[in-house]
């Protein structure tokens, strides 16, 4: 990305004494599907509302397509928004809801009709134009909200948890539709969600936020496989953490004293003497009932059968938290774990992510 299409520069937002967004720096490329991900209260919606113009930054600036929009009111901004509640105008029918933003442009009647019909076709609701807003199902309202925003051909589409109110199946199909739609219209999407799977499956890049701060901005795979801190690792998926200390370095490889795990070697940049965390994803741990060289001995304390895989908790001497292991159920008559079995855990050096210990 040479020149950022949306540039958020050191944006801070304070409500009274509360800092909702703390010096956020984000650059979003043209046509990118960009997600703001974080738990509720992390500031992601406030940041989105500042891009839309409903809230104004206490400090910092926001640029879209090279123009400073920091202090523009919402109706003068090149963005449109899909609201969490959809905000379908209850006194207007579907056609007039979608045409709302176009009416100001004073388009010729035929042009207006054509564009609204196109939008209706895009959301697969052709023939629903006369339907009133309160006669629509949740999924239909969501589509109308989307069409109402996109019909204006905005430079940026802002989406505030648009799928949160839908049931699981509908949400999954809408995720795919939304992603395809974004690809076809080529508009930059800024998508707010607290659902990490949603963010990972749909986005080109994701910014993970917590307590007002942007922790990491990266592609989904990088966020999952190479988180840059404990909070990101913890928020995205499940992660096992082990305390360790760098004892010496061997080029790019650090030699770590990981206590109960023994001495391990892993690619890491921390200097000798640094206190670090070894992070390992549950599915990267191999479980075997026979002793393996370098394997860590543990005892199964609990297991949950989830169909395609099982989640197994293993207690390791000297480690306080049980280690989570995700095992694929490859065989129909695979091993059943009732607890108490002695097992050995092993993993490859690449499975380990070495994080600073905060």
């Amino acid at each position: 990305m040479d020149e950022a299409f949306i540039r958020i520069e050191k944006v801070t937002k304070r409500f009274g004494g509360v800092t909702a967004v703390d010096a956020a720096d984000i650059a979003i490329g043209r046509g990118e599907f960009f997600s703001l991900l974080g738990p509720s209260g992390c500031g992601k919606t406030t940041l989105l509302r500042m891009i839309a113009g409903f809230d104004f930054p206490s400090e910092g600036a926001i640029y879209v397509d090279g123009n400073d929009i920091t202090d523009l009111p919402p109706h003068k901004r090149p963005s449109n928004m899909v609201f969490q509640s959809y905000a379908i105008f209850p006194h207007l029918n579907v056609f007039d809801n979608i045409a709302y933003g176009l009416r100001k442009a004073r388009l010729p009647r035929a042009e207006l009709d054509r564009r609204v019909e196109e939008a209706l076709a895009m959301i697969k609701l052709s023939g629903f134009g006369k339907r009133r807003g309160d006669q629509l199902s949740g999924g239909q309202r969501q589509r109308v909200a989307l069409a109402r925003a996109l019909v204006n051909r905005p430079k940026v589409l802002l989406l505030d948890e648009p799928l949160g109110a839908l049931d699981k199946r509908l949400r999954e199909s809408m995720q795919i539709e939304l992603r395809q739609l974004q690809k076809s219209v080529g508009i930059t999407f800024v998508f707010v969600t607290h659902d990490q799977e949603e963010a990972l499956s749909m986005s080109d890049r994701v910014a993970v936020m917590s307590a007002g701060k942007v922790l990491q901005i990266a592609e989904p795979r990088t966020l999952y496989e190479a988180p840059n801190c404990r909070e990101v690792a913890d928020f995205i998926g499940t992660m096992n953490f082990f305390d360790a200390i760098v004892t010496s370095r061997d080029g790019d490889i650090a030699v770590l004293d990981a206590g109960p795990l023994g001495i391990v070697r892993a690619p890491a940049s921390q200097p000798a003497g640094a206190a670090v965390l070894i992070a390992i994803r549950p599915e990267k741990i191999v479980l075997s009932s026979d002793a393996v060289s370098g394997g860590v001995r543990g005892i199964i304390t609990a297991s949950a059968y989830l169909g395609e895989r099982s989640h197994i908790h293993v207690m390791v001497d000297g480690v306080t938290e049980p280690v989570s292991v995700a095992a694929q159920n490859r065989h129909r008559d695979g091993a059943q774990h009732n607890g108490g079995e002695v097992v050995y855990l092993s993993w490859t050096p690449e499975a380990m992510v070495i994080l600073p210990r905060a």
Partner: protein, 306 residues
């Protein structure tokens, strides 16, 4: 002994029977709730109204009431120039009162609904404080303000702006409009406030996001969505003010007399109940028709806003 036990058992069952019956039948529950009010409404409202309607088709000859059906009273009510003038003036004054009151009430309701963040309740109480005093007292208060030796006249005179009291302040239709508009303000503020308060704020944000500035946002979203409150307020003011007789008789003077004043005279001083009843029925019918037509017209007009 056995009978007593059987009786108690029977009572217990029948008692449970009624509760169970009420619990199961929604319509029975509704009727039970509605019942007491219905009785009062029928006895105190519908029956007298029916009687009034009956009177309007009778006639009075001296001291005797002729109960043969006749449309004479209605013919007189509509054909006599003085009655027609009174109908026009009543409807005209109450229309102006309605428009003025709604126009003044809307900003106040808007302010409390949209601009007041904390303690809205206190604001609503403050707005309704004038209504803690009696209606008559409020009308007299305006007499004190507008009167010959009233607050405005003595104030202007002590400032030296005028040398003799202004006589056009009191005893005319304008004084009636001012007094009625103040007297009925709360009945306009509250329904408008409720309808404004119900508007989902994200709808206004959506309108702004779709390119509307404050004025267009108001015309396209806020006004249509608060229309039920506005219409409710208008009906609530138009209907009773057309028939008001206290205010016109106290501050209206001879030019401010309204239809209710002449109805009162018919029932009281002249003692021609059938004509009074016909005038009352005619005024009710006109208020009803005008209300329905204007509500429909306003609905249509605002419905055109897209």
């Amino acid at each position: 002994m056995a009978t007593t036990e059987a009786d108690t058992e029977h009572q217990r069952v029948s008692k449970a029977g009624i509760t169970a019956f009420l619990r199961r039948s929604e319509s029975a529950r509704g009727l039970a709730l509605l019942g007491p009010t219905m009785v009062i409404m029928v006895l105190a409202l519908a029956a007298p109204l029916g009687l009034l309607a009956a009177y309007s088709f009778w006639s009075q000859h001296g001291w005797t009431l002729d109960t043969h059906f006749t449309l004479d009273q209605y013919t007189r009510a509509f054909s006599r120039q003085s009655y027609r003038a009174l109908f026009y003036r009543s409807l005209w004054i109450s229309s102006i009162v309605t428009v003025v009151t709604v126009l003044l009430a809307y900003p106040m309701a808007y302010f409390v609904a949209f601009r007041v963040e904390k303690s809205k309740f206190i604001w609503l109480i403050l707005l309704t404080i004038p209504f803690w005093t009696s209606y008559l007292l409020r009308v007299f208060a305006w007499k004190v303000i507008l009167g010959y030796n009233g607050v405005i006249n003595s104030g202007l005179m002590s400032l030296g702006l005028i040398h003799a009291p202004l006589e056009f302040l009191l005893y005319n239709p304008t004084a009636v409009v001012v007094t009625l508009a103040h007297a009925w303000a709360a009945f306009a503020i509250l329904p408008i406030y409720v309808s404004l308060e119900k508007i989902d704020r994200s709808l206004l944000e959506a309108a702004a996001d779709l390119g509307d500035g404050a004025v267009r946002r108001f015309l396209r979203i806020t006004l249509p969505l608060s229309l039920p409150g506005v219409l409710g307020a208008a009906v609530l003011i138009f209907v009773p003010t057309t028939g008001d007789y206290v205010t016109p008789s106290l501050v209206g003077g001879s030019n401010g007399v309204m239809i209710a004043n002449i109805i009162e005279v018919m029932f009281d001083k002249i003692g021609n109940w059938p004509l009074g009843a016909a005038l009352a029925m005619a005024s009710m019918a006109m208020v009803g028709i005008i209300t329905l037509l204007s509500v429909q017209a306003i609905r249509l007009a605002v419905g055109k806003v897209k």
